[in-house]
Amino acid sequence: MSFSMPVIAVRNLMRRPLSTLFTAIGVAIGITAIIAISGISKGLERTWQRAFEVRGADVVVVGKGGGLMSNWLDMSVKDRILRLDGVADATAILWAMQSIEDAPQVVISGREWGGFGWQNLKIIQGRMPRDENEKAAVLGTTAAEVLHKKVGDTLQIELEEFTITGIVDGGAPLENRSVTLALPLAQKALGQQGKVNFVNIRLKRAGVELAASSLCREIESVCPNTRATLARDTLNSNRGFRMLRAGSLAITLLATVVGVFGVMNTMLMSVFERTQEIGVLSALGWKRRRIMVLVLLESMALSLMGFAIGLGAGLVLIQVLGRSSLLHGLLEPYVGPELVFIALMIAMFVGVASGLYPAWRGARVSPGVALRSS
């Protein structure tokens, strides 16, 4: 490689390898945090969104308030919705996430018997419950895995015991981590008689967005304390997801600020230590601009090094998290090219922002003063 400014910058960084490494690790931790939290946040959104999609709803009605899980709705809400013009079908769902027996965080999904909520579940083994009175449940494939259950086993939910009649493929990771049973059984087991937290609606004229939007407003007016949205917008209006996104943004900002100050500190130390050398370069005719460019190249290289380490560590962390039984199926972490690009942009920003002040200090070094001090 020919001797050029980037080579000079990298060589200067390699002069104090430990300091460079530790600073790069500081940036890397930030990038890892950004990749992990954004990957989890995005993965959770995609996983949940996919579950909404496979359930085949056009509009989703939830109780106002609450976090990731919305507040409870009275079953009567569904009947009021069904009476509205434009609604083809509606089905109520009770949804809860809790640990069952030894397994952490499994979805309990109580679905109205005969409703379209069951349609996406394809039997792989065994059978569906005979009717809504049979004390039976079907398990998604991941749920069967984490619960270590097979067809014919029993399952304890709170004080109630259920027979597992079948293993199903729900067509989405979250559906596959679900224990699905008839709605009244789930309501009883969870002590929420007459309550649901989702009403999934199919429209007569699906795809007519304006009609759907006006129906949503109508639902909200006839059923106070509900929030009705197009299925694909459900997560955008979910307070839990909004908080997750805000948290993700906060961590990104925090990591950026910490990165900027970390790299700035190292670069300032480096510039102060090299005052005499910078003075020599200035004496040799290097323009201030070139000295600034050199310092900026160094801070950029440092940040990019941090980016590379952080991206690698972030991807490994995401893989490990995604495979852990705690999260498997609940969320499939997702790191797309846009997230990698954003992380790269953040690293570049850290490089430039952290290098500006040290570069300015470097460019202000008076060659005479620097050389006299030697």
Binding site: F3, R290, V369
Partner: protein, 259 residues
């Protein structure tokens, strides 16, 4: 040690008889103080230096000789007085960095080579401000190092070299951009007598072959005696000048020497 001629873009002629007598530097009342005026490093120095001269500035420590060299090299700004380079006023609107890059070569007592970079890389450092390609920079540095007898040390690092070798690298670096003036501040001050003689011979050879104007600061009369003109300083003033300027004629800031 085979040493090839210093590459020159200037015709070689007899150094003892500069034909044109063009003034390269003119200074009048040049003063410099430090520490808020408590230290008077230079007190109203008047000086004319002609192109092609080899001037030794001699004096004890603290006499202001290095300060004078720093002002000429625009490494520092004078507190008072006027200073011209080839008739152009060296003031705030003067581009000192371009002047240092294109017209000057520096050799320092402490060598000031960059320790992280190899010998050949050090020599290339000044060339980043000129329009050399990477290949040309390398070739030029290679030729310069050959000319100072360091062909075997191209990829060595400054810490692996002796003092004399380091100063020869510094001399090669000072010639990188084909300067018209070489400013050498105690170039033999950190060297043993053999290396010092070696470096002085190199500087004299550069002067002889390239007709570069050389200003060499030293406190060693033996070193100074090898220059064609000797300026003695004491307490920030010039006390004698073998070039005959002192007390004879004051610079009048014109293109032609009045003599």
């Amino acid at each position: 040690m085979p040493i090839s001629p210093i590459m020159s873009s200037v015709a070689v002629s007899d150094s003892s008889a500069p034909a044109a007598r063009l003034r390269i530097f003119e200074a009048e009342g040049l003063s410099k103080t430090y520490d808020g005026g408590r230290i008077q490093a230079l007190q109203g120095v008047d000086l004319i230096i002609h192109e092609g001269e080899f001037v030794a500035i001699l004096g004890p420590s603290g006499c202001g000789k290095s300060t004078l060299l720093n002002l000429i090299g625009t490494l520092e700004k004078p507190c008072a007085g006027m200073f011209l380079y080839r008739g152009r006023a060296v003031n705030d609107s003067f581009d000192g960095q371009a002047y240092r890059a294109h017209d000057l070569g520096f050799v320092f007592q402490a060598f000031h080579l960059l320790p992280t970079f190899s010998v050949i890389e050090n020599v290339q450092m000044p060339m980043f401000e000129t329009n050399w390609t990477a290949k040309e920079r390398y070739q030029r540095a290679n030729e310069l190092l050959r000319s100072v007898g360091l062909t075997e040390r191209l990829n060595g690092f400054p810490t692996q070299l002796s003092g004399g070798e380091r100063q020869r690298v510094a001399v090669a670096r000072s010639l990188a951009n084909r300067p018209s003036v070489l400013l050498a501040d105690e170039p033999t001050g950190n060297l043993d007598s053999i290396s010092a003689a070696d470096v002085m011979s190199l500087i004299i050879r550069i002067h002889r072959e390239q007709r570069i104007t050389i200003l060499l600061v030293t406190h060693d009369p033996a070193v100074a005696s090898r220059a064609s003109r000797e300026i003695r300083m004491k307490d920030g003033k010039i006390i004698s000048d073998s070039g005959g300027m002192i007390g004879l004629a004051r610079p009048h800031f014109s293109e032609e020497d009045p003599q």
